[in-house]
Symmetry: C4
Subunit: 393 residues, 4 copies
Amino acid sequence: MLTRRTAVRNLGLFLAGSPLLEAQHDLTNKGERLPAIDELVNVLDFEPVCKSRIPNNSYDFISAGVDNEWTLRRNRQAFERITFRRRMLADTSKMDLSITLFGQKAEMPIFIAPTSSHQMVHQEGELATARAAAQVKTIMLVSSISSYPIEEIAAAAPHPLWFQLYPDADEDGTRERVERALAAGCKLVCLTVDNPYRFQSERLERNRMSTGGQPGDAGSAARRRRTPEQQAPNRYLLRPTPTSRLTWSFLDQLRSWSKAPLLVKGILTAEDAGRSLEHGADGVVVSNHGGRLLDGDPATIEVLEEIVNAVGGKIPVLVDSGFRRGTDVLKALALGAKAVLVGRPPLWGLGAYGQAGVARVMELLQAELARAMGLSGCPNLASINRALVRAAP
Amino acid sequence: MLTRRTAVRNLGLFLAGSPLLEAQHDLTNKGERLPAIDELVNVLDFEPVCKSRIPNNSYDFISAGVDNEWTLRRNRQAFERITFRRRMLADTSKMDLSITLFGQKAEMPIFIAPTSSHQMVHQEGELATARAAAQVKTIMLVSSISSYPIEEIAAAAPHPLWFQLYPDADEDGTRERVERALAAGCKLVCLTVDNPYRFQSERLERNRMSTGGQPGDAGSAARRRRTPEQQAPNRYLLRPTPTSRLTWSFLDQLRSWSKAPLLVKGILTAEDAGRSLEHGADGVVVSNHGGRLLDGDPATIEVLEEIVNAVGGKIPVLVDSGFRRGTDVLKALALGAKAVLVGRPPLWGLGAYGQAGVARVMELLQAELARAMGLSGCPNLASINRALVRAAP
Amino acid sequence: MLTRRTAVRNLGLFLAGSPLLEAQHDLTNKGERLPAIDELVNVLDFEPVCKSRIPNNSYDFISAGVDNEWTLRRNRQAFERITFRRRMLADTSKMDLSITLFGQKAEMPIFIAPTSSHQMVHQEGELATARAAAQVKTIMLVSSISSYPIEEIAAAAPHPLWFQLYPDADEDGTRERVERALAAGCKLVCLTVDNPYRFQSERLERNRMSTGGQPGDAGSAARRRRTPEQQAPNRYLLRPTPTSRLTWSFLDQLRSWSKAPLLVKGILTAEDAGRSLEHGADGVVVSNHGGRLLDGDPATIEVLEEIVNAVGGKIPVLVDSGFRRGTDVLKALALGAKAVLVGRPPLWGLGAYGQAGVARVMELLQAELARAMGLSGCPNLASINRALVRAAP
Amino acid sequence: MLTRRTAVRNLGLFLAGSPLLEAQHDLTNKGERLPAIDELVNVLDFEPVCKSRIPNNSYDFISAGVDNEWTLRRNRQAFERITFRRRMLADTSKMDLSITLFGQKAEMPIFIAPTSSHQMVHQEGELATARAAAQVKTIMLVSSISSYPIEEIAAAAPHPLWFQLYPDADEDGTRERVERALAAGCKLVCLTVDNPYRFQSERLERNRMSTGGQPGDAGSAARRRRTPEQQAPNRYLLRPTPTSRLTWSFLDQLRSWSKAPLLVKGILTAEDAGRSLEHGADGVVVSNHGGRLLDGDPATIEVLEEIVNAVGGKIPVLVDSGFRRGTDVLKALALGAKAVLVGRPPLWGLGAYGQAGVARVMELLQAELARAMGLSGCPNLASINRALVRAAP
């Protein structure tokens, strides 16, 4: 029988690009006292605890944005341009935050965004994350780049998963990837379209410089496992992914052999929302990839409404990048999003406390959203509308 | 005869939710020199003096806002978006700041906002506050959650009081509460509608964590006295108040058994101002509860004009949250408010110097308002109008 | 023959309100090296040198703004909202910055604003300032509150002066004040209308507190010489000046007995500019009194254009408050001002180096303006127009 | 045979105004470790390395802006007002950043701006810079004020150069200057029109003060070599250049004896763009001279579109001032610029590593631009258009 690590190695499909697979860190505390989980009063409190528990390179890999990290900061600051117009004296004694989307029910409109290689922060990796998602009854989007095979992740959790797709270099590979995920029980395919190049962080580059790129650090591990295409940065020092060769017709191709609901993730303009519609997407995710791709991308909350207006209610719009508070989520819902994905917060929870941490992070977000909704006179998601917020220009 | 404390205990009506009733702090100086009261040149100067005189938990309870305290800061910053358009050479040698509202005269359009449990900061609690209000001839709004019974507070002060109402869990309780206040001499009922949940401050939560929630601190005292409904946070970790079950028809109910003038406090939108009008309110108070309820609420000075326009002069509009300067007050009056309530400043005065401190705080605000009016060519409240200010978008 | 100080004492007219007349400070260096004057590269450099040479109270009296000093800061920051639209390749080899206003020629459109009691910063007081104005051939506005009698000031300087008027408590006194100034050779009366109350600075109040209000400090000297009216702050703690009783008809009165050109200083709205026109003013000065009267006044550069538009070119508009750079001046000229007054900068020059300092300050401003004009394709004042600047909203 | 230095001295044409010609600094490291060039991850990293390698005065001369250096900072900050509207799923696997402008091909739309006296930072001066430009196949604009004669610079580099022209005091001198540059192989004349006065930096003035203006420092060297006209600052303390006497007819003159393509550099308004067109310019460069001339100039990225609209596509518009990132460049291209010039970055590269540093700086900018374009769905310059960016007001 295969050991854990061997099993992962054999599943090359999910390894592509996984930068830290070998970093099976001994996640012992670095000497600092681990606070009891209920001493953390909000999601932001989990970040320093996570940081104290995982290797610095892993922390930087999770935290970093691209270049000056301007978009990373903008993702937070932009929420301040929106204020509430809450309404009083609506009976909110019976709150209900549940949502059914693409046939799947969740107890909150806050899902776990697809992020790669959860073993980077906790040995149980995606298994723990998936169990936590099931525990709090929300949806987890499993990344194409996972530390565990999709079958094991799906087996770990009773609640159905969605599958995030990075296309493979050839169509057959992509199709195998999708079919395997669906066979494992995933209920939806979420195609990420925004990264023709691999993540390139100056923060991580500087780490590599200062450590001399020793084996075991994230950067060097990634470099050693590059495919030939990825080995040599091209003439413009770029590190393309298979996505760089795709056009919108790829969606048609995908639809021709998959009937699963299809989300297109990484939409930032009305034009691309329209293209998604034309090519048969069942929904879009407004995302700037957590500020990790182009420094100068707007915050997603700034462009959400443009995209909501463009799809005109024909398909649901989801959104991610920078959400840390229930009030952030409520602002997005008021501007027309159906649900919000959170990426770094569950990783903080995972790195800090494993499954329990992920579950607590999601519960706190749910609680904050419930409080914000109740204070705004909204007992359920259907009662949220555009009049709830005022957006500064 | 009952002792002071016993008396309070027996008046359960006013105890509901009072978080610090037992904290009959020995309000001795913590060792710092107490400055002479006339060394304090403005209202803001009273805050550090108060802080040096009262328990840290009490100070935090007064000061805290909700979550990131963004709205708390916004309440102050938003005044900077408004500048004056003052007019010269109007004879202002005879200033008159008096106002008559709902039949009650005051010597300034600046009233004492309802805040809970004044014994948290000074042993004489609301008795001292009420005496100070009478001394400077302004209106005090007495909170439903007071350290002293309304009868004693009313007896302490010759100037009539207004009564702030938090609804009880059942209508009879509410009615008894109102009738008792009116019987004691209160002239108006000010119904607070903006808090379906109890105040939840991360600052206070962290205090509780670091002290282990020992008896005697605010948080634990509050927890120990919770009603069954309040004991168990519900599935979304919420702590509802009776207000969470109310709708606008509650106003009709109230009007059916009370003929006292009715203010509705906690209005933040034109829509709710309109609802207040429809359901018979005699006035509204624009308030975000001092930044203590929903982080993301706009500053009240930002939305005041929307509400003034919505009521179209049919009933008076009052406003609170963040007022610290005479110029702040004048900006609100120019935008259409009839009067301004101040909450924390009189508490700072009370904590620092007792009755004399409250009186001085109100006098300083009055003096600053008089100076700002005189410099603007306004000898009285009637001469203030919209042309006096310019509001940046 | 009278000694210098006795002479001043006998001229009660000019003493009214002079807060520091007795403070004939020994203006010796406080021990720091006095830099050579040409080591100072811009006007701002003179402030710390002045500060090192004069009593702290004098420095604070000059520097302070009212309340939070928000308008004081805004006066500087608001210039940043205006950027240039300069034009190239206009022959600017022959620059001419001269201006003729109300029949008086000056070599720069930058005049010395009226400020009180120049002996506060230098023993030669207004005599030195007036000599410096003559030296650089610009106009000095002499304050009603001067350390020297107007006759001596006028005698000190060959270049004609303008007279700033604070009305006396009765008309005869005012008329005597004006006629005496005109007899001494002043060519214009500049009536200040914006201060119904005396300057009230929290910074100075705090100084008084910490020094116990000892004789010799600015505050206490002022208090000791108060007229009965000024002694007792009225019910609203105000300290009115005779201006508080005036209306616009005072201008008609003034015009009935004085044919000198009349500037009205302290205009902040189109409405008051219109009133000035109606009542016969020959010009207006847009001013917020250097941020010393109402905290919340806009920067003058923000409202200049409103006033320029209101007078429609019928009379010249001047402006002061916060000007420190040639580029500041050019922005005002482009927005329609005919000239700019500077108040604190010449006082810094005077306190630091006496007459030579005032002259150098004015020369530096002139040089900076010349450079800014030349770089913008404007060889003279007539070539400056509205198209030269872009104003952000 | 002439020594290097003697040769330079004999070429008075190129010496005019060169402030640091004698400063043939021994560019040895000041004791800090020189990092390996590939440890620098972006262009900004080169600045501190350069600073550690060159005399302080040289560094300040390069870095300084005029007056408060507000425009210098604005040049950077203004990029933040523009965000991307990037498009996904355009095949960007084959990137091409090449451009042909005025008949000259370059491998990137990022050229080396004309800056004076490269020996200030490296002994090989413009020879190294020109070699680096040829190495990375981009265009270098050679300043009229160079450390080496134009013939030597042109001989050093196979890639054709463009010549930046400062007019001489008389037309013959100017013509000789241009003809000599064209004879040496320069392919275009770029006339700078924005500096009627010499650069005047308070930072450098203060340096001079604090060093006593010793020989060898930038300021004093410059002063010693001033022409008679430059020796005596005129009545307004100005230091005019020959440009101060020119008008737009100078362009007609120039065109009458030169058929080389003519760029006009230093355009900041639609009006001057129109004038350039009228007088036969083949292109314009939007520039505020790196924030070195008028403090209050807008950032060039703020006014670029006004100028692009004014020329209406008739001639190309280039831009410089403050560009440090590939995303900065892409914003300018989206707003209509054909190419961007960078001034300080190649000097940082030159000062830090000589030719290799210049080449690396340009390569990094090229790589960042390629990445930004690829992420935005733009495989080449032709695919970039106005819809790619959103500009805040």
